[in-house]
């Protein structure tokens, strides 16, 4: 179960090949960073608070750098298991191009930098939330939950859900219920999204000893939980249309997309995804026949979340007023 030959890193994490600057960029998980920036910017815009465009850009940059710091700290701590999984073995540390200590140093430096700059450019609430998010992801999720419980991505999902709240706080200095509604959307989206992927990469996680839900509870239980979380997620995704956050475009996107999301979740529930030790054959989207429903849900979940936040942004850009049917949520 511990095939260390998969990693070319010498004992002690000493790199064998010279690091390029792009390896340090890879440590920051730029793909994750782009989603974080997108949701944080949406939160910032939804706050409808007067803010200098320069300071708004710096605030979003701080959130991006903070997310990058979390990624570097995650790769530092997970270097051993990253080398065992096909999805992650190409990362700079398992490939032997960056030393573990360098990743740790970069992560700590960028974390301090981003929090300090956020406090300076925006406010201390946003800086505090950013610091909490980095610590939660690096310590609570990476060092504790990930290798301990199949609920790892459920609880750890809070770190990925906080960026829109940080953006909102950076713009307005407070976090009303609508900001936390954006948090709830990403928080409830994470389990079906992550478990759909885990269903067809079970072998990878098992090899690395990561207790993902399909590894510990089995595919049938995971498929059932995907459906249950989807049933909880879709109403919450539609809710902003009734709380003064989303307008008619958001209502249409969330309802239509939500119905499709539920349809795909039901298909996963009724499928045999994960039953045959399904292993991705070609990246994130290549699967054996039995797991195509899980792959479809995984792919659509990314599109749906993107469309939800894009709809909110588009309504701000077009000047469309929110429906505001339940004013108690505030703006």
């Amino acid at each position: 179960m511990t095939d260390t030959t998969a990693s070319p890193v010498a004992p002690g994490g000493v790199a064998e090949t010279p690091a390029r600057w792009s390896d340090y960029v890879a440590l920051l998980k730029p793909r994750v960073m782009s989603l974080v920036v997108f949701t944080a910017f949406t939160g910032l815009m939804c706050a409808r608070a007067p803010m200098s465009p320069t300071l708004a850009a710096v605030a979003v940059l701080c959130i991006a750098v903070g997310a990058g710091a979390s990624g570097a700290l995650n790769m530092w701590y997970d270097a051993d298991i990253d080398g065992l999984m096909r999805r992650t073995r190409g990362r700079p540390i398992p490939m032997g191009r960056v030393q573990k200590g360098d990743a740790l140093g970069l992560g700590i430096f960028l974390a301090l930098l981003s929090v300090m700059l956020m406090g300076m450019a925006a406010n201390y609430l946003a800086a505090g939330l950013l610091a909490f998010t980095i610590l939660f992801y690096a310590v609570v999720y990476t060092m504790w939950l990930k290798r301990w419980t199949p609920q790892n991505i459920v609880i750890g999902g809070a770190a990925g859900a906080l960026p829109p709240v940080i953006g909102w706080a950076a713009a307005s200095g407070h976090t009303p219920l609508n900001a936390w509604l954006l948090f709830a959307i990403i928080f409830l989206w994470t389990p079906p999204h992550s478990w759909a992927l885990a269903l067809y990469t079970t072998g990878d996680y098992a090899k690395a000893g990561v207790p993902m839900m399909p590894v510990v509870k089995g595919p049938a239980s995971t498929r059932r939980q995907i459906l249950l979380y989807s049933l909880a997620f879709v109403p919450v995704a539609i809710a902003p249309a009734f709380t003064g956050l989303g307008g008619p475009v958001y209502l249409a996107v969330s309802v239509l997309g939500g119905l499709l999301f539920l349809t795909l979740a039901v298909r996963v529930w009724r499928s045999h995804a994960g039953d045959n030790g399904n292993e991705a054959e070609n990246g994130l989207y290549g699967v054996k026949a039995g797991s195509k429903d899980a792959r479809n849900l995984f792919a659509f979940s990314i599109l749906y979340l993107t469309l939800l936040f894009a709809a909110l942004l588009a309504e701000r850009a077009l000047g469309l007023e929110p429906l505001n049917l339940v004013k108690a949520f505030g703006g």
Partner: protein, 54 residues
Amino acid sequence: MAGVPNPFGESDTAAQARRRRSLFLALGLVAFVILIFVVTIVKLKGNVLAGNHL
């Protein structure tokens, strides 16, 4: 510089990678200084316009 031995005993590839890393580090530091300057000026301007300096 051809023929001059590398003082760190590293290969040409490693030396080139190190120089590129140093270049990007320098650019990052310059960007950071400019960023702090801009944020300071914008915050200062906001406070002056709001009359907080009086």
